[in-house]
Amino acid sequence: MNYPVDYKYTRSHEWLRDDGDVAIVGISDYAQDALGDVVFVNLPAVGDTVIAGESFGDVESVKAVSDLISPVTGVVCQVNTALEDAPESLNEDPYGAWIIQVEDVTDCEDLMNAEDYQAFCEQEG
């Protein structure tokens, strides 16, 4: 299991990377492993507002569906539409395959650093 240090993490297993003006959001290695083979991602649209702690889409595996919870409040400025045709990239490269980018961030959840998140996951699993 991989927990890169330049990311921050939520308790619902999303990661957030601060990229200057925008916050980039994806799901963690732990999340993709727990879900199994991702078969589809329900994505928001550019311009949608996301709210910290609330769902902005979901990820489907064959026998489960899991909400995507936004770590931040803001406006979606980019959506990784490549996931529509290649949802498996969430399994293959969870930290490369970002899901949305958010700008005008006004609020942020309490996030964990890599070390705390790893401890959190090990406790859960």
Partner: protein
Amino acid sequence: MELIFEKSVPGRGTEYLPACDVPEVSLPEGLSRKAPPKLPELSETDVSRHYTQLCQRVYGVNCGFYPLGSCTMKYNPRIDEEMAALPGFTGIHPLAPEGATQGCREVLATARRLLCEITGMADMTFQPAAGAHGEFTGVLLIKQYHDARGDRKRCKILVPDSAHGTNPATAAMCGYQIVNIPSGPDGCVDLEALKAALGEDTAGLMLTNPNTLGLFDRNILEITRLVHGAGGLCYYDGANLNAVMGLARPGDMGFDCVHLNLHKTFATPHGGGGPGGGAVGCKEFLKAYLPKSRLMDGGDGIQVRSFAGNFLVVVKALAYLLTLGKEGVPQAAENAVLNANYLLARLKERYTPAYDGLCMHEFVLDLSQLKKETGVSALDLAKTLIDYGMHPPTTYFPLIVHEALMLEPTETESKQTLDQAAEVFLNLWDLAHEDPGYMHEAPHHAQIRRPDEVRAARTPILCQPE
């Protein structure tokens, strides 16, 4: 096996109709389709053999043991089919005049009277076509009741965490918020949690009793009393009525409305996924809210599908009810419960039930220990059973049990069938320890090996390209 389209030969076909004996007319310009639909072109021999081949790749209750929990796969009597196929039923137009449909009306009235007696309800509709459709209708009775009273603050439906997925989905379709009520350690509704959830915003409770763990909630009277006390109504999901029909009535338990699965409890066949029958009964005070057909009955009431519902399914259920009668109905329930308990007693030699003690018509095994020991999952065991000529039990439901296997043998299985099934299960316990790899790959002798469901979902092929 080839698809029917792959057997098609241009120009082939069977003449079923005579030549046209009136002048032909043509469609107005622009309203014709550009090209004929690419339907298969086959001789009747081709068609007959194709469907016979398909039929040989289907496993029905007539093929063997089908202990599919929550689905009540009991034997479907042939006489019921014969009766439903009488031209005096199949040839009747739903909008034929009253004088020409007396038999249909009597079928519905008789089935209604018998099923109201069994459920303790005052009236019943046969319009809903399936269980989930019945739930939808039942919750709409609750919604109309509150609306008619101007009681619009009731926005929540309570659903136990062991419920079928249809319950929360139904409540959501009816515009309600869902409050999940956790089960207590005994697998039944946690009364304290229920009390905490009840309030002025409670529209109602949806409950299956016995529940999906196969347990009869002994607090049932207290539960319905509490819900009524808060001003809510109680909806009985009849999915598990087979355990108690003729022995205990939802009406007496305090429920206000109920749906029945005619295709489970009353022995009408599942048909590979339908048609079903989702009759909905209610107490006197909800009668006015039952659905009607705009065209058959007039009025402006709710309507959940066209006409009077799956009428032929009701004919089958009535034939079954008349056959069993006063003594047969409770006897079926008792033997369903006996068969489940007997199978459970035999399997307990190795397997761990999710809840100890007696069960009702079905029970849940918890295979998490087996999985830990051997790596063999509930799914692996289920798939191995296919090689032994048995339909697997329901897997991974209810959601509150990990590695769940849910078994419902029904009353129409003999002791010999149950003994043979028990032997297979016990042998597979050993096999799981000896050769788990074999079970991970199972089935080995079925129509196909395990299908690639990930591929099916990622790159959907839902239709044969032309």
